[in-house]
Each structure stands twice: as C-alpha cells, then as structure tokens.
C-alpha cells in the first residue's frame, strides 16, 4: 500500500514549488489513475516517489507498506517494491539489454537478501516475458533502448516491470507516443500484472489509456494537489468537460 501524506516538494535548485500538500492512498490490488493538465505536477510526483534527486521534499511523507521511503536512495526504493515506468525511458549505449536486466534483477535480489538468479532461470524468465509482450529476442541483445521506437521503449518498460515484480507500479504517461496497437499491447501487459498484492498508479493526460487499463479510482490533480477523487466515470467526465472546472479548486 502506498500512502502519501501532505507532500510538499520544490525543485532543488530553484524556489519553484511543484507539489503543494498532496495526499493520496493506493491500496494493494487497486489501480488508481491520476489525471491532470500539463504542469500540474504529475511527473514530479512520480519522480519523487521513485527517488529522483533533483527535488527537495519540504514536508510530508511517502509510506510504502507503512515504511517511509523518503530517506531511501532510488535503488533501495526499487528493492522495496517501487517501480516507475518512465515517460521517456533512457538510452544506455554500450549496455546490452540482457546485461542490464540481469544486473537489475540480481541487485534487487541481493538487496532483499535473496540468492542471485542462475543464468538458465534468468534467460527463461526473460524470454517468457518478452514473448508475451511481443519483444523480439534480437532487441534483448541490443544496447538498452538505443534506437528503439517509442513503442518498443514502452514495451521494454513493461518487460522490466514484469521481471522485477514490484508491489507498487507507477506508470508515467505510458500512453504518450504510442499508436493504438502499441497501446493495446502495453495495456495488456499491464493488465496481466494486475494482482491483489500489487498497486498501480497510472498517470495520464487522456482518458484513452483508461479504456484499456480500467482504473478503480480516478484522482484529478491540479497545481500540485489532488482536487477530486472518484470512480472510473470521473475520467469520462474529464474527457468531456476538460480540466477547466478544476483550476479554481486547487
């Protein structure tokens, strides 16, 4: 379970405050969507949960299963179960995707005091997950995300999510840059991972993604706060009326 209480965050080197007392809970097994206009702080929220260093938390806390993660570095948060699917996955030239996947899986296992994976088990797990997401084997041998299309990068994010088996998945604008077919594949990948022990926080501009990944709850974010919470019908209402009505609520 992810609990965010009264989170106040600014950009580290500037005076610009992005999150202004944001509170939010995502229960195990819940798919929560955050919708909001550009500049409302959605991506900042995802980065702050994942542990990016460019921000300064002025107040509040982020609890994962009751434990405050704000003091942890990004790698410790990942090992604790937080996974951020990036809006723009980074290209890492010179690092083969397989090498990276193995390093990541084993680093998390080590951090949790588990034994490292044996190579045959690792390869079996990767190939199985890749096949389900329609990722060609040849892509796994290429440097991570280098020269991948937008759709391939997003599928690679979901592959990592499947392999790392996190308890809290944050999807930051996963639909951006995807055509309808790619969107469907990615959504199916996410849906396959829905589990009573796993929570999802799906950040998006558009209702479109939520046709494929149907949320349990929808939160509207504006000016760094959650200004309205409702069921999946709230997304449809936003699609129809836009965000204009929520500007004043913040």
């Amino acid at each position: 379970m992810l609990e965010i209480r009264n989170l106040v965050v600014k950009i580290a080197d500037e005076d610009k405050q992005i999150l202004n007392g944001l509170s939010l809970t995502v229960n195990d097994g819940e798919v929560a969507a955050i919708m909001g206009p550009n500049g409302s702080g959605k991506s900042t929220l995802s980065y702050v949960i994942a542990g990016k260093e460019d921000y300064e938390v002025l107040d509040g806390e982020i609890l994962l299963d009751g434990e405050n993660v704000l003091e942890m570095e990004a790698d410790a948060r990942a090992a604790a179960g937080i996974f951020l699917a990036f809006q723009y996955p980074l290209e890492i030239p010179g690092v083969a995707t397989m090498t990276f996947l193995k390093a990541a899986m084993n680093a998390q296992r080590r951090a949790r005091g588990e034994a490292e994976l044996l190579t045959p088990d690792f390869i079996k797990a990767v190939n199985g997950a890749a096949d389900r997401l329609g990722i060609a084997r040849d892509m796994l041998r290429r440097p991570l995300n280098v020269g991948f299309s937008g759709g391939e990068k997003k599928r690679m994010e979901i592959l990592q999510m499947a392999l790392l088996s996190p308890s809290m998945c944050i999807l930051d604008e996963t639909d951006s840059g995807l055509d309808i077919d790619a969107l469907r594949i990615v959504a199916e990948g996410v849906n396959a991972l829905r589990d009573p022990r796993r929570g999802f926080l799906v950040i998006t501009h558009y209702q479109r993604l939520l046709d494929h990944i149907v949320p349990d709850t929808v939160h509207v974010m504006s000016k760094g706060r959650i200004v309205k919470t409702g069921g999946k019908e709230l997304a449809l209402e936003l699609e129809k009326n836009g965000y204009a009505g929520y500007a004043d609520a913040a």
Partner: protein, 449 residues
C-alpha cells in the same frame, strides 16, 4: 618557431654526462652509433621537451624530470618479477624485458611459430644489418621529437621481431616490460616489429612496475608492416610507482592494402606520455589508433598522435576514451595530415572524456592539416560528466549508485575496447577496466552526480 634554451637543467647536464660515459658500451654497429650520436646532438640542441613546444605543451618533461636517474644497465629476475609473470599467465610466445633489458631466461621462446624470428634488440643492433637502421629511424614525422631522440641515443635493449611473408599467427606475441622498482632507474628500451607481406599477427605489450621505487621510462616500438598485412597491437600500461615518469613512442610505417590497429589501456600509470607517429607507405590501407585512459589521484596521461596520409585512399580512425577522477589530468592531441596527393583519404578522430569530479582536467587538441581537395575528414572532442538521468534510470531499477556508475563508465570505455580483435585480450582489457572501476573512490565521485 625557434626555441630559446637559455640554460641547461640539472637533468639535461646529467643526461649529457650519462651519454658521454655510456656511448662506448651501448650496443651498436657503426651505423647505429652514428644514429645515436646524431640523435643525441639533436637532443642537446633542443633540450628536454617543455611546455613552449606545441607538441609537448601539456606535458612539460623538463619540469617533470628534475633529475636524471642512473641508467639501468642490467637487471636480474627477482622473486617479485617471477611472481608477477606467473600472475599474468600468458600463453604462447612471451618476451620479457626487465628494466628494459631482454631476459632470455624468463622469456618463452621454445614454441616459436614458423616464420617468426626473435632477437634481443642489443643483439640486432650490433649485427650491422642495414635494414634495421632504416626501420629504427622511423617515419619522417617522428624526426625532431626530442623524447624520441633520447630513446634513440640511449636505447639499450628490447626485442626485434621479424615475421616472414605470409605468416599468420594464431596467438599473440607478448612483450612484457617490467620495471623492477628495486632502485630508481632510467630505462631506455626499444622494440622493432617487421611484418612481411600478408602477415596476420597480434603484438601485445604490457608495461608494469613491480617494486616501489619510481622509474624514468623511455620506451619505443617501431612497426614496419608489409602489403596486405593485418597487424594488431595492444598495449597495457599499468601498476607504475606513483613518481614514475614515462614516455612511450609508437611508430608505424604501414604497407599498402594493409590494416594496422593499436589499442592502449592506461590505468595506474602515474605520469605517462604516449606518442604515435604513423605513416602510410602504400595505398588503400586502414589504420586505427584507440585507447582507454583511466585516471585518478594526481596521474597524468597524454596521448599525442600524428597520422601522416602521404598516399591516396588511406583510412584512419582514432578513438580515445578518457575517464578522469581525483586531481588527474588527461591530454589528447591528435593531428591528421593529409598531403597534397593523398586524395580520397577518409579520416575520423574522436576523443571523449568523462570527468568524475571538479578537480579533474582534460585538454583536447584535435588538428587537421589537409592539403588534398577530395577527402573526408572529421574530428570530435567531448568532455562531460556522467549523465545523471541515466544513473537515476539505472538506480530506479535497483542498481546501487556504484554499480550504476560502473555500468555507465564501462559502457563508455567499452565502445573503444570492442575494437580489440583478439577475444582473450579483449576480455583481459575489460577485466582490468572493471577492476579499476570497482576500486574507484566513490566519495570523490559523489559530487559529480
């Protein structure tokens, strides 16, 4: 430009005295003696290279050599040297130099493949072979370099490798040059590789310090390769005592339709200047000079190269990757000359540097001198910090900071290492890079991220 040398330094005086005292017993036939005398006269006229000479601007040898250490005359195997050789566990032909002197006893020459002849340089120098004198002189562009002149004047030993036409070697020939570090010494060695037509061979040079005392090392290797040959050179310079000052010169004259590639890994090498002088003796040849420099502490590594396209249809590629931490300094000076008749030259030069912290310094000076009008030549030099976004991405997947950094740095260096053709040597290079990254001082890096 005329260089005014107002007075001689203590080291220059000492070198003159050393040459006068040693020249009678330094090995050499009459033509070799003449070569030595001329080189030393050239050195005396100019003195030790210093920062007002453009090509030595960032490595002021005059300032670095406060005194000239005593010449290494002979050396014998110590238990430390034997242990080091065991650790290196090199298969095949292994040629060992201790303080620059060839040791037949420590070398493995039994399994010499057909078509390969090996002599100590000292032996070859007295043999009176005229072709050797020509090869020793090196390419025209190397003339006038005072670091090299000193080597020519004072070279005592090394190896002379001849590979007959058509010979294809399955295994690398290793030249292991160990500085004993038993006492402070000046070491002058040179090796010569003459590869005939159609030869395929890999020469692996490794230079290491064994003991604690600093050395002054001036080494050189000369390649003359035949038409249609494919000669690969790998050099590792490592494990030097902190006060060691070293100049390593590589000269190559490359035949037509041939390939010559050199790769150098520098780590824990104290103060090092590597200089390359390469000329194309025939058309349609391809030369690659690449390297990885891993610097920390107060280390200094200078890569200065001159690529001389004197004939048409030459291809040259240079790629140097430098990672600098601590207060260390890296230097890359690359000059590609394309002479008037060298049409259709294709040259590409790159120097990429990652600075790990504020105290690290890099000097980049790429130069193109193009006199032909139908060529493709480019160069690029970058100096950057590690990419914080990349590191965050890797950490968000669970990699601890150190591991994430190591992965990014390894990949950065790996781009150049990929060009090492021999698989086991490539593995050895990557292992050493990994070991260096694992030892790296994390605290010094934290500020850069």
């Amino acid at each position: 430009m005329s260089i005014v040398t107002p007075f001689k330094t203590a080291a220059e005086h000492a070198l003159s005295a050393q040459f006068s005292a040693a020249k009678a017993e330094l090995p050499g036939s009459l033509p070799v003696r003449k070569l030595r005398e001329d080189a030393f006269a050239g050195f005396e006229a100019k003195g030790l290279p210093h920062r007002r000479l453009e090509s030595w601007r960032y490595t002021d040898l005059r300032a670095l050599l406060r005194e000239a250490k005593p010449l290494a005359i002979d050396a014998s195997a110590t238990p430390a040297i034997e242990a080091r050789l065991d650790e290196l566990a090199l298969d095949g032909v292994r040629l060992v130099l201790i303080d620059g002197a060839f040791s037949a006893e420590l070398s493995t020459l039994e399994a010499l493949p057909d078509g390969v002849a090996i002599h100590s340089l000292a032996e070859a120098l007295v043999s009176g072979r005229e072709d050797l004198t020509r090869v020793l002189a090196g390419p025209g562009i190397a003339q006038g370099d005072t670091g090299l002149m000193l080597n020519t004047a004072l070279m005592r030993d090394g190896v002379f490798i001849e590979i007959a036409d058509g010979t294809e070697l399955a295994q690398p020939i290793a030249i292991v040059s160990l500085a004993s570090g038993e006492a402070e010494r000046a070491i002058f060695h040179r090796s010569v590789v003459v590869a005939g037509q159609g030869v395929k061979a890999t020469i692996f040079e490794i230079g290491e310090g064994v003991g604690a005392e600093a050395s002054q090392i001036n080494g050189a290797i000369v390649f003359e390769t035949g038409d249609e040959s494919d000669v690969q050179h790998l050099r590792i310079v490592t494990g030097q005592a902190p006060e060691t000052v070293q100049v390593q010169t590589l000269m190559a004259s490359v035949g037509g339709h041939a390939k010559f590639e050199s790769f150098a890994l520098v780590c824990d090498a104290a103060t090092l200047r590597q200089q390359y002088f390469v000329e194309y003796a025939g058309e349609h040849s391809e030369v690659g000079l690449r390297g990885v420099n891993l610097l920390g502490g107060s280390e200094h590594s200078d890569v200065t190269l001159v690529m001389d396209h004197a004939v048409p249809h030459g291809v040259s590629r240079e790629m140097f990757k430098t990672i600098i931490g601590g207060e260390a300094t890296g230097v890359f000076q690359g000059k590609v000359i394309v002479r008037k008749y060298a049409q259709k030259t294709d040259g590409g030069m790159r120097s990429n540097t990652l600075l790990l912290n504020d105290g690290a310094t890099m000097f980049n000076k790429p130069e193109l001198e193009i006199f032909a009008d139908d060529v493709v030549c480019g160069h690029g030099a970058t100096v950057a910090q590690m990419d914080g976004e990349q590191l965050f991405y890797l950490m968000a997947r669970g990699l601890p900071r150190r591991e994430a950094e190591a992965l990014v740095l390894q990949a950065f260096a790996g781009e150049a290492v990929e060009f090492v053709q021999d698989e086991s040597l490539r593995g050895m290079v990557m292992d050493r890079i990994e070991a260096w990254l694992a030892r790296r001082d994390v605290a010094a890096v934290a500020g850069a991220v």
